[in-house]
Each structure stands twice: as structure tokens, then as C-alpha cells.
Symmetry: C2
Subunit: 351 residues, 2 copies
């Protein structure tokens, strides 16, 4: 018995036990052709007898494929990104691949470090929510890449997957109009973020289609946080405005912050103020009232990103940018003013 207990069995151990060469053992185990059924079965039996498990490091070295994918996101603890990670992980596992997960915390330096780690680990491809503005060394040796998120649009020559902001905004605005809020105020993110511009552009297009002057919309900016939304909502309420106030927040966290500000001001949502968010984070379900929002398909985005990455790895550059449709989740933070004040352009009167 040459098999020591502390050493992991290799394919030669299997071959010896089966009485064949390691070449034959490899053929049997890889499911290759040119092998007798009887021999294959003998090898397979020997493999399970010694507890053989193929060494993926060695396979990866020989074949140049590590069987691993990289995922670099701002923060895995953020519910949206966790959802994306889950989708990516499921799709990768389905294809027999593993996922290396990293959080960049919106820091370009951290991101660069993680990317270097990914390249060193010889991942077969990477899914990245880009923070940095330049990726010179990213594709220097052709690491297949798919970007995710709206910041990915800064890189038109890299395949990417994101939510369809135009469709999402349309979804939200249509519902607002249906409920009798044709000209909602907007709470947007910082001007530096690309997503802000996308969101605003979609609003403009929608207004134009409905012959509404986008200029009449109240707009407040804030950080993409609860506190940012709270402050923005305070400023919004401070503006002299009569009647019911409807708000479309570009982010659920901000929407929840806005809800808090409404409560702080002694008002009631949805009676005095209607709020609709954008993201679909779980917290919106437990707020009171439940937050009506346009949900991004985080999991689907993760899945599609992996699928796109497979195309990229196989050098099938079919698509460049995929927009995943969002869906409306109604929970009760929108007042229905349509019966009381049908078809008015400006803000409707208080119920």
C-alpha cells in the first residue's frame, strides 16, 4: 500500500490500481473516445475507490482554462449587487465554473488590485462594474470581460449588461400618470454619475412624447443614500408648492429617505406625498407604506452577464450592450388621484 493517507490521490494512483497507463486513465475519466467500455468502467471504479478528484489547477495549467470567472462589484453586502452575484454564481455553477468574488468599494485602487489578482488567478473571464475610467492593462493580454451597471456605458467597445433605464423610467412615469401625477418631482443622484444623465434623459424623452415641458419638473440632487434622499426631500418640501406632491426617486435608498423626511415633516405618504423608487431592494417591502418601485432584475443581470462572458470567451462578439427590462412593483406609496383630478398637466389638488 503505497498510498499515504495525507497525500491526495492522483491519476497515476488510479491508473496503477486499474492496471492501465495514466494516459488511458485520463481518457477514461475525461469521457474521451477510443477506449473500451470495460476499461473505462474499471478505471472509474478505481477512481472512486481511491477517492480521486481531478486537480483543477493542473487541468487549468495544461489546458489554459482555469474554470473560474471573476466578479468585481462595488459591494457584495449591497442587496442589489448581492442579487447580481447570486445570478452570476448560479449561471456559472450551471456551466461547471466557479466564481471569484471581490468588492471594490468604489475605489479605483482597490479595483485595480482585484483585477490584478484575477489575472494572476488566470480566470477565464471577468464581470466588472467599472469604477476606474481607464482600463489600459485590462485587455492587454485579452482577458475576456463583460461590464455591468450603468457606468459600463463609458466603455462602448466592451460588452456590457445593464438595466434598461429608459424602459424603467417609462414604467414609473406611466404609472405616475395613470395615478394622476403627470409631472412628478425628481430626486436624482450626483451629477458626476452617469446613471443620473441616463435617468434624466429618459424622463425628458417621456415628457416630450406626452407634450409635457420637462422644465416644469422640480429636481433635487443628493447622494445615493438614505440621508441623501432625506435631505433632497426636505428641500423639495421647502419649495412653495400646493397640493399633493409626487416624487420619482432614482434610487430606493433615496426614496426611503424621502419617506422618512415626509414623516419627519408630519405629513403622510401616500396621502400627502406619493413616492416611487428605483432598484427593488427588499427593504422597500417592509417600509410603511410599502415602497412602490421599479425593480432592476439583479439576478437576471448577473446571469446574462455570465452568458455574455461565455460568448466573449469563445470569441463570439455578437452583442455589445444588453439592456435588461425592469418591472414595476406596486406596494402603496402612490396615491391614486386619477378619479379626483383626471387629465391635468400641473400638480393636482389635494384630495
Amino acid at each position: 500500500m503505497s498510498m499515504s493517507r495525507n497525500r491526495r490521490p492522483t491519476i497515476v494512483d488510479v491508473a496503477e490500481l486499474a492496471g492501465v497507463s495514466k494516459s488511458t486513465a485520463a481518457r477514461a475519466l475525461t469521457g474521451s473516445t477510443n477506449i473500451t467500455d470495460e476499461t473505462r468502467e474499471r478505471v472509474v471504479r478505481a477512481a472512486s475507490a481511491v477517492g480521486y478528484e481531478r486537480n483543477h489547477l493542473a487541468v487549468g495549467m495544461r489546458s489554459g482554462r482555469s474554470g473560474m470567472l471573476g466578479l468585481v462589484m462595488p459591494d457584495i453586502a449591497n442587496p442589489f449587487w448581492a442579487d447580481v452575484a447570486r445570478g452570476a454564481q448560479d449561471r456559472a455553477a450551471q456551466a461547471g465554473m466557479s466564481l471569484l468574488v471581490f468588492s471594490s468599494d468604489w475605489d479605483p485602487d482597490v479595483e485595480a488590485t482585484h483585477l490584478q489578482t484575477l489575472r494572476r488567478a488566470r480566470v477565464d473571464g471577468a464581470i466588472i462594474n467599472p469604477v476606474s475610467d481607464s482600463f489600459d492593462d485590462l485587455d492587454r493580454f485579452g482577458l475576456p470581460c463583460v461590464f455591468i451597471g450603468s457606468s459600463a456605458e463609458r466603455f462602448p467597445d466592451v460588452s456590457s449588461v445593464g438595466s434598461d433605464i429608459a424602459q424603467a423610467v417609462r414604467l414609473g412615469l406611466d404609472r405616475l400618470v395613470q395615478m394622476g401625477h403627470p409631472a412628478p418631482a425628481l430626486i436624482l443622484g450626483p451629477k458626476s454619475r452617469l446613471a443620473r444623465a441616463r435617468f434624466l434623459r429618459a424622463v425628458h424623452e417621456h415628457c416630450v412624447e406626452r407634450d409635457v415641458d420637462p422644465g416644469i419638473l422640480d429636481i433635487e440632487d443628493g447622494e445615493y443614500t438614505v440621508e441623501g434622499g432625506r435631505e433632497a426631500m426636505k428641500r423639495l418640501m421647502a419649495r412653495a408648492r400646493v397640493g399633493h406632491l409626487a416624487v420619482f426617486a432614482a434610487n430606493d435608498m433615496m426614496a426611503l429617505g424621502a419617506m422618512m423626511a415626509v414623516r419627519d415633516a408630519g405629513l403622510d405618504c401616500p396621502r400627502d406625498v406619493s413616492i416611487i423608487g428605483f432598484d427593488g431592494i427588499p427593504s422597500g417591502e417592509f417600509a410603511w407604506p410599502g415602497l412602490t418601485t421599479v425593480a432592476k432584475p439583479g439576478r437576471d443581470i448577473g446571469e446574462r452577464a455570465v452568458e455574455g462572458l461565455f460568448d466573449e470567451i469563445e470569441h463570439k462578439p455578437e452583442h455589445r450592450r444588453i439592456y435588461m427590462p425592469c418591472r414595476l412593483i406596486e406596494r402603496g406609496s402612490l396615491a391614486d388621484l386619477s378619479t379626483h383630478a383626471p387629465k391635468r398637466i400641473a400638480g393636482a389638488g389635494r384630495v
Copy 2:
């Protein structure tokens, strides 16, 4: 120029450019001794010139250390587990290691598949929230392991990290007593879950210390979900009980569900019913009222698990089970009855 653009540069490319042997190049790059500063600098310069990046697959194969850790959790999209993952990932990155993340969905078969993948990937160790009851093949070849979560207590001979349920329960009950709720009702998980027994035992111990008969506590069981908590709360309210009702839920989701049930019944939290949860999920912050809860240190648990795993990998079996302290987060779902009804054992009267 023999360097093709599509081939990743190896250490021999570096060595050739620097005019040394690959052994010397390796010495220079690994920071080993026995090398001239001048030679080292020349090699380092050559390495960056050709864009050399050490192949971790090859390193892992040669050294037996892949530089990767595995993390198997029920669901990365669950906020608590996402937090754990974040902590583990940060601590691993800090040590220069990568994290392979998997979600088992509480399915033993899926878990087994992921563990096999981990072993094949030759991870240096794994952090696992165990679902299965048996792990025969887990340590057959000595894969270093640290378990996390309360289900880990089923495996006393495996190092594990979990939250200190006894301390958490004490924290919650002490606060309840301070607020004038000495004998709260309990909403617990299914009887099959180990965490339920731990929670209940801690409650019993605390009651005994305070000379309260644990038998007088109302108890309802439910699934660890919003719906489970909602149903349990309904049953709790259906019991003939006068005065203010205080509830300690063993899980934040259930606590939020209980809050919904209270609202559905036309009652008010905290005026009519006090609710305290256990977990510390973000959603509790946005509920109305904000959910007072005992928060598990998810991120810390992840970090400590990685640290424990390092000890395990280096065969330093110091500790076996680490209990991480929880902390109380007060948000307003507890009514303060202490001034109105100080020091009463049974349920206090309505305010």
C-alpha cells in the same frame, strides 16, 4: 522579438530579457535571498517591461497552495449572509487570498456538489454553513474547514464561528425588562432548527436568573420568513390576552411579518404591541416603526471565520467554537412601560 502578443509572458520571458536564468528570475521575483540587488532590480524591470504576472495556477500546483478559500452559504443574496461574505472576502483579500463563493439554498445535494467543486479547485480551506448532517468525505483528505452559523454546533469536532445567542437573548430580554416587558411572548423558528433550541435555552436561563417561570411565556413557532412571523403573530394575538403585548422574535424577517400582522389587525406598534427582532437586517431600519433588534455581527463573523481558517490551515487547533457578541439596535418598536408599570412580573396593563 519572440514575444507573441496573444501569449501571456512567463518567467522565462522575463529571464531572457533580463539575461539571467529562470531560477534567478524566480528568486528575484519571490523576494528570496541570495541575489544581488542589481540583478534583482534588472529582473524586476524586465518583468514590468513584458507585463509579467505570476501564474497562480502554476504556483499552486508546485507549492500545493492555491491561494484560494471556499465559502459555502445558504444564499449570498440574503442580507445576513452577504454581510458574512463581505467580511470573509475582506479578510481573505487582506491576506492575499481569493474567495470562491457558493450558495447551497439549504439543499444538501447542492452543498455536496459545491464542496466537490471546492476540493477539485484545491482551495486551501473552506468556510461552510453546514446543511447536511454528515460530512464523511469532507475531511477525508483533510480539507481545513471552519463552520459558521448555529447549525455548526452539530459538529463539535470542527472549529466554528457563530453569534453568541445566549448573550444576544440576554441583551434583548434585559432591554425588554427595562422597558417594562418582563415576560414577552416568543416567536420561534421550526422545531427542527438547532438555533431554536439555543434561543429557547437562553431564554430559560435568563428567566431562571430573574425568578420568572419560563412556563408563563407564550410561544408560537413559524418558518423563518415574513409569512411565518405574520401567521405566528396572528395566532399570538388570537390568544385571549389583555393589555400590552411584547414579542421577542427569533428572526428579523419574522419580526417584520409580526409587525405587518399587528397593522393588519388594526393595532399599532409600539403603542399596542412591542416587537423586538434578532438578526439586524437592513430592512428593519426602514420599517415603521423602525425595528428594534439584536444585530448579529455578520461581517465580523466572516472575518473571524477566515482567521480561524488560517489557524486551521497552519494546524494550530487553538479554539474550537467562537461566539461573536451581538449588539442591540434600538429603533422604536418597543414601548416604554417602565414608568407606568414598574416591576411587574406578568404582562403590564395598556398605557
